[in-house]
Amino acid sequence: MELHALTIHAARAALQSGDLTSVTLTESLLNRIYAVDNQIRAYLSVTPEVALEQAEEADRRRAAGDTSPLLGIPFALKDVICTEGLTTTCGSRILHNYIPPYDATAYRRLREAGAILLGKTNMDEFAMGSSTENSAFFTTRNPWDLERVPGGSSGGSAAAVAADEAIFGIGTDTGGSIRQPAALVGIVGLRPTYGRVSRFGLVAYGSSLDQIGPLTKDVTDAALVLGALAGHDPLDSTSLPTPVPNYETALRSDIRGLRVAVPKEYFVEGMEPGVERAVRDAIQVLAGLGAEVGEVSLPHTEYALPTYYIIAPAEASANLARYDGVRYGHSAANPSDIWDLFRTTRDEGFGAEVKRRIMLGTYALSAGYYDAYYRKAQQTRTLIKRDFDQVFTHYDVVVCPTSPSVAFPIGARVDNPLQMYLADIFTLSLNLAGLCGMSIPCGFSEGLPVGLQFMGPPLGEPALLRAAYAYEQATPWHTMKASLPLDVTSSELNETDEAEIG
């Protein structure tokens, strides 16, 4: 197997045995990026000097006896997480030149665990979107079909992992932005419980919904990365003080007696039949492994989308107010006065979707509308959370599709925001309820990956990992990789369309 195709745990074994150095591994990943990223366009910036310097340091650390869990493993970081001295754009023109003076806690933790930064990945502007088409710079391609989106907003990190341009990726999930792209490119994406991973240094979109998490090639890797990311941070007052368990111990293939809930509201008219088939088959697999599967109802599911599109934009309207051209980032040239500076900077700096959400949020918070929109949405949010509380008194995990469709063609939804918003219809509720969840590959429909979603109660990551690991061990999906046109050099294939596997 090519070095760039390794999982974390495989690479770690090779590094630990002395068969591989981090420098060699990192060079392999950088070469892979140079070979395929002009097709995939996963990265906004690649930082080879930083990567090689960190790799050399990792090799020295290992020589000195360091056995940190991610030591020497190269990864891709979504460009919404601050890195000291390295451009952090959030996929936005307004921050195209922004270089943070500090590291996000999540990045610092990954570095302490020994991980190697390859570069910063593309995303929908300020994490608002489901396809990376809202990036101010370019659209990332789905490795399974370059004419299709990789999902979003963490589409860059997801595509980088799927195309072996990183051993693992880091994304953020405000309404599904880790799980949905993971599903669409056929990898594992885990969104931790709200508060499990520090948000300090994560550029805020929806502060009460945002959470950082891993995008990996398999469930074991997800557990390893989560272990490095998770933990209390005194710099984030919403981070949870609860001690971090050893997530690797949850990786057991025996799920006999695990109580699995199937919510009927997540199998709706309009979802693609191939997706439903793959998910139904997956549930049969779980039952076959000894899980106790039962159907449940989450009656307020239909309100999740409108609730999300009040609360997230409301928070965003305040979070994005600081981009005014005064201190950093894009600043309008020759403004007539301060108000003109604000207006023109923001008009030039923000894309259409960001402006749309700022306006939605501003409206929802305005005098005379607050009660009808923001307050009502908060009340509905409580009801949605209660639905889940109810289910989790009887079940360990909920299982359902991650996305109602497979990856859609680039451009197919850009003119229809509502159609785009529906891409996250199965993932939004979890964020509103503050739960944890993950998406893992569960087959293909029309040659494109389908994701299976597990949702767990707050701090229920071990149950998620257990269910996902057992399913993964019983199925072949996680071993399947897209063949890229540029792989011809290495795989000797002449066909240009090698996307269909499965």
Partner: protein, 482 residues
Amino acid sequence: MDYEIVIGLECHVQLLTQSKMFCGCATDYDGAPPNTRVCPVCLGLPGALPVINRKAVEYTVITGLALHCQIAEFAKFDRKNYHYPDLAKGYQISQYDLPLTRQGWLDVEVEGQTKRVGITRVHLEEDTAKNTHLGETSLVDYNRAGVPLMEIVTEPDLRSPEEARVFASNLRRILRWIGVSTGDMEAGALRVDANISVRPQGQAKFGTKTEIKNMNSFRAVKLALEYEAQRQIDVLEHGGRIVQETRGWVEGEGRTVSQRSKEFAHDYRYFPEPDLPPLVLSSTEVERLRAQLPELPEARAERLMARYGLSQYDAGVLTGSRAVADYYEAAVAAHGNGKAVANWVSGEMFRLLRGATLEIEAVPVSPQALAELLRLVDDGTIGISVAKTVLEEMFATGQRAGEIVRAKGLTQISDQDQLRQVAADIIAANPKAVADYRGGKPTAVKFLVGQVMRATRGQANPTVASEILEQLLNESNGRQPS
């Protein structure tokens, strides 16, 4: 027509914490180079998150307790949204519907009448940066951004500019007393804004109010509100209407001017700050803070009056600050006579402090040293006028009273024989005064006592000198002393 003035105040108070409201930056920005007390949090950089300053919460609760407020069991922070270059995040973290404390009161006394002024709320927020405008350019200094700021809002209970001035002054005394703020108005540590309206006497409905800002001293509060009340009355008398607006006090011109601009017509779109968990204050915690609360100025003044027989005026002066009251009580403890000590502290000591522009905290004469001086007066070693000179010397050099008296030979002369000789000389040298005395003006003896004091450089015991003089004058007159 007679008008009634209605005033409510909004006071912003910088708290005396070491670090800022939501980050670890120092608050000692006074005199610091611009933008040297900043970090990602108070600069509002992307990704930075606030962490609540515990001390600032405690100070706010203590202030609430001192103002007889109810302390919330459950409080939260909210975002107040507006754009301005001095506001790094585009919103200010403040408290909207669930402040830390609410519903208290503070008494003010004006012209002998005590009035209870309602406190609507005391809440916590963050200060903004400071803008400096240089012609075409504006500069922003974020050193002040994020300094803990307490907002104290009163009910519209004040009925005159003088009441407003006294309220502000009393409030400052309390803030300094409990040690939560310097209360320095010129440095901006205490900023008093007022809402003011007028209405015809007897009318129940409030008139349209204006908000007055930029009053940088207690005197400015009074002058600005007097001006504004009269301005409003003039407008109404001429058939005009009051426009609800913000007006700034222009100290140099002695008037308020409209600061109204449409950019300031705000809908702040408050909503709960999602980056901060709600504050839950246990009753144990509140009681712990209540126990730390010092005896407050009004209560202390009452006690001083009851215990030492002080007048209300003296008790007020001696509770002007906690340090003065502490000094006074320490001196009384060392000396014993509350009234005598009160006279010396509020008289001579205050005069010397004013002359040296010192606060009592920096006084070079300890309460024990003052007590020693007074004991020298009590036992007749020195007289009052010498004692005043000795106090000046103590103030200037830090020496003890006994040392000064010994070194300068200032011991009072009460010796009969010694004084008799001096008195005889004075009588001989002042025939006119002697004649006046004998001609039926007994007060002329006071002049002669003064001459004796002068001749003895103040060391003569004036009572003894007076007795001897009268004795000598009457003896040589052939009459018995009356």
